[in-house]
């Protein structure tokens, strides 16, 4: 079962056994899937930047940061139920619902905007909580429960925005989708972003900071709580977790609530980025499927119990970085989906390489 523990669960173990060099090697081996994904990302993103006429520039980084944020948040959302051993088919729909809600709420005075943002995040979390209740108290398989609730979310989204429209505060849109210097300039902070001490960080795209904040201030602390560790335990062996007296119901509720929260955050950013709400059904399904793909590329097992949200973010980055290259290299347009599919297949196969090293065939069943 050692194989089931990855970097994300390591802190829990670290307290029991201090890290040594042998431990490091073990950890590298356990994270082969994630390391493969990181390597792929460095490869594809490096190639893209090398051949881009403005490669390695702030402009390109900002543009890419905007493009990856929503999908990364959705990948994080999808990770939590997957760690339980389930799937959340409603993440794309919840994203769309919050996107439409934001197009009504995030405008007006600063206080109204702040309240609107809070309401949007709250709505996402609330929807996730309802998903959790259906799974825990209704005892319905997550994949079916969220298929149904996803349709409900889409219905609500269409009700809120029968046709695309609405308006998000223009300053907020501009500030959130650019570098920190633009953010400071828009809101008149740090001498309009010209303060000398501010310059070393002024180039950082705001979406990257948002992503880091969600990863480091929400996911990492959550993972270290008892509830967070219980999610991993349930994914590994629910029966054993139950017999150990772990709070199963609470962990499941928390997992789906967190998924809803991340998906809502994704929808909120999509609204800020496009400054409108749009109940786009094909787009919702695209995001749901891509979020699952990102989770798998990041090395999280669909069987549950191993992996983590940060790994899924890397998965989302790989997914995006592959298609970045189509803008640089001459791939015939009708072959692009084929090429993307082949690369993805290769990427997820990396995670399966461990099967070749298994000493005992029984290990493969885990």
């Amino acid at each position: 079962m050692a194989d089931a523990i990855t970097a994300d669960t390591a802190p829990a173990r670290a307290s029991a056994r201090p890290a040594g060099s042998g431990d490091l090697r073990l950890r590298l081996r356990q994270n082969a899937g994630l390391l493969g994904a990181v390597a792929l990302f460095v490869l594809f993103y490096g190639l893209y930047n090398l051949y881009h006429p403005r490669g390695f520039s702030t402009q390109v980084l900002i543009q890419n940061a905007n493009e990856i944020l929503t999908l990364s948040l959705l990948a994080m959302a999808q990770t939590v139920p997957v760690l339980l051993g389930g799937l959340d088919l409603s993440v794309g729909a919840v994203m769309t619902l919050v996107n439409c809600l934001a197009s009504h709420l995030v405008a007006g005075s600063p206080a109204q905007i702040a309240l609107g943002i809070a309401a949007c995040l709250g709505a996402g979390a609330a929807f996730g909580f309802v998903n959790g209740c259906i799974v825990v108290y209704g005892r319905i398989q997550p994949i079916i429960a969220t298929l149904a609730s996803g349709a409900i979310a889409m219905g609500l989204a269409l009700f809120l925005r029968p046709k695309p429209g609405g308006k998000i505060d223009a300053d907020l849109s501009w500030a959130m989708t650019n570098a920190l210097s633009d953010f400071a300039e828009t809101y008149g902070l740090f001498e309009d972003g010209k303060a000398a001490w501010f310059q070393p960080v002024a180039w950082i795209p705001v979406p990257l900071l948002v992503l880091s904040a969600f990863a480091l201030l929400v996911w990492v602390p959550f993972r270290r709580t008892l509830t967070g560790r219980t999610i991993y335990a349930i994914g590994s062996a629910e029966g054993a977790a139950y017999m150990s007296g772990l709070p199963i119901a609470r962990a499941k509720l928390a997992a789906f609530t967190l998924a809803g929260f991340f998906a809502g955050a994704g929808g909120l950013f999509l609204a800020i980025q496009t400054s409108t709400g749009n109940a786009d059904i094909p787009q919702a399904s695209t995001y749901t499927l891509n979020s699952i793909a990102a989770v798998v590329i990041g090395g999280t097992s669909l069987l549950g119990g191993t992996g983590g949200a940060i790994a899924s973010v890397v998965g989302a980055l790989v997914l995006r970085a592959i298609s970045f290259n189509f803008r640089i290299f001459d791939v015939p347009p009708l072959l692009q989906p084929l090429v993307e599919g082949l690369v993805l297949l290769a990427a997820v196969s990396l995670g399966a390489l461990r099967a070749l090293r298994a000493k005992n065939r029984l290990e493969l069943f885990r």
Partner: protein
């Protein structure tokens, strides 16, 4: 992204000097613009825009959204074929085509990428009618001409190319009413397109506007066919099972599927309005005498060629209408001619309307099909 910051830091010093580009936006000028026969202003109020003249040849990018139906594939092939035609070939240095899927973030990212790569024009089918403010702002700053077509944007800040979708809905309704004679009762089937899409919305509104005014008593049954033969066929079959009989049918696309569902259900042929799929036109030609009095309008994949032509014209410094109305290519059961506006020997799946005489653009479907058969790579 962990490995890039330091490199970016290095690149930043040199880069800062180039970011301070003057804010250049197209000027609003008075008409008429270049080639008014081809680039027809949408209405009397349509303003004209003029970009700073750039020296050619130009780099053009096409950012498609959804890919995976025949129309989009034919559109991409048309774009490539048109770029190879004499007269265009020497003006275009590079043509890049990407499809981003129905994902607005990816489409915005791709457009911004091409702006950053220094392309001169970006032609796009928008996946949403709204939300492109940021990209338009950046394009204006960098003097890039953005041309949305087919699914256009709800903005007057960019040059756009389309056929009047409201008018398509209206003329479909008028055709149906004309063929129904004095009958103004019973049920009419409306097969809609992709939900949430501006083309779907406008065709529907135009259709309902005329029907509501002139045949308020007719009950309109609305189903969703996604502009796809399979989906439309299934949805039509379901509707026939539930409602029994329709007096007329308006289908936005997947028209061949709609007709086939009616034939399978042994539903009598009725007056109909639909898209320009070759298969649908073949069926009209065959069954017009049995009552399939069809109208076939075309939202042509050839619009991409008009958009490319318009983008080049704008880059050459000509004044252009902000919203260009391309004449709707339309035929009915009386004007169908084999080998001219439909092809009995070719497959059902391509779109038969591709000639725009006013623009000097004619990429006939068999040309594209033939070309395709030779280079399947």
């Amino acid at each position: 992204m962990k490995n890039t910051p330091r490199l970016i830091g290095l690149a930043l010093a040199g880069f800062l000097s180039t970011t301070a580009l003057a804010l250049a936006a197209p000027k609003v000028v008075s008409g008429p613009g270049a080639e008014p026969g081809c680039f027809k202003p949408w209405s009397g109020e349509t303003k004209h825009m003029q970009w700073a003249k750039k020296p050619g040849p130009y780099r053009i990018a096409i950012v498609n959204g959804f890919v995976g139906n025949t129309w989009r594939i034919q559109m991409i092939q048309t774009a490539k074929a048109y770029a190879e035609q004499a007269g265009m070939k020497e003006k275009i240095k590079e043509l890049k085509v990407v499809s981003t899927g129905t994902d607005v973030a990816a489409q915005l990212g791709a457009m911004e990428d091409f702006i950053n790569q220094g392309y001169d024009a970006i032609i796009t089918i928008a996946v949403a009618p709204d939300g492109f403010d940021r990209v338009i702002r950046l394009a204006d700053r960098n003097n890039v001409v953005v041309v949305p077509f087919d699914n256009v944007l709800d903005t007057d800040k960019v040059m756009q190319v389309n056929e009047d979708q409201l008018e398509i809905g209206r003329l479909s309704a008028r055709h149906i009413l004309k063929e129904l004679g004095s009958k103004r009762e019973g049920k009419v089937l409306e097969v809609r397109g992709l939900p949430g899409n501006s083309v779907d919305r406008d065709r529907h509104l135009g259709f309902r506007e005329v029907m509501g005014k002139e045949a308020a008593k007719m009950q309109i049954v609305e189903i969703v066919g996604n502009w796809d033969d399979g989906t439309a066929q299934k949805a039509t079959a379901d509707a026939l099972a539930v409602h029994g009989k329709f007096e007329a049918v308006f289908t936005q696309g997947g028209s061949t599927g709609t007709v086939r569902a009616m034939m399978d259900a042994k539903h009598p042929f009725v007056p109909m309005a639909g898209e320009a799929e070759n298969g649908y036109r073949k069926l009209i030609a065959k069954h017009a005498n049995d009552g399939l009095k069809g109208l076939s309008y075309g939202q042509s994949p050839g619009l991409v060629a008009i958009s490319m032509k318009a983008a080049l014209s704008a880059l050459e410094g000509n004044a252009m209408p902000q919203l260009i109305s391309v004449p709707i290519p339309v035929v009915d059961y009386t004007t169908l001619k084999a080998g001219e506006n439909f092809w009995p020997d070719l497959t059902d799946n391509f779109f038969a309307a591709n000639a725009f005489p006013a623009c000097g653009v004619n990429i006939s479907a068999p040309e594209i099909m033939g070309k395709d058969a030779k280079n399947t790579q």
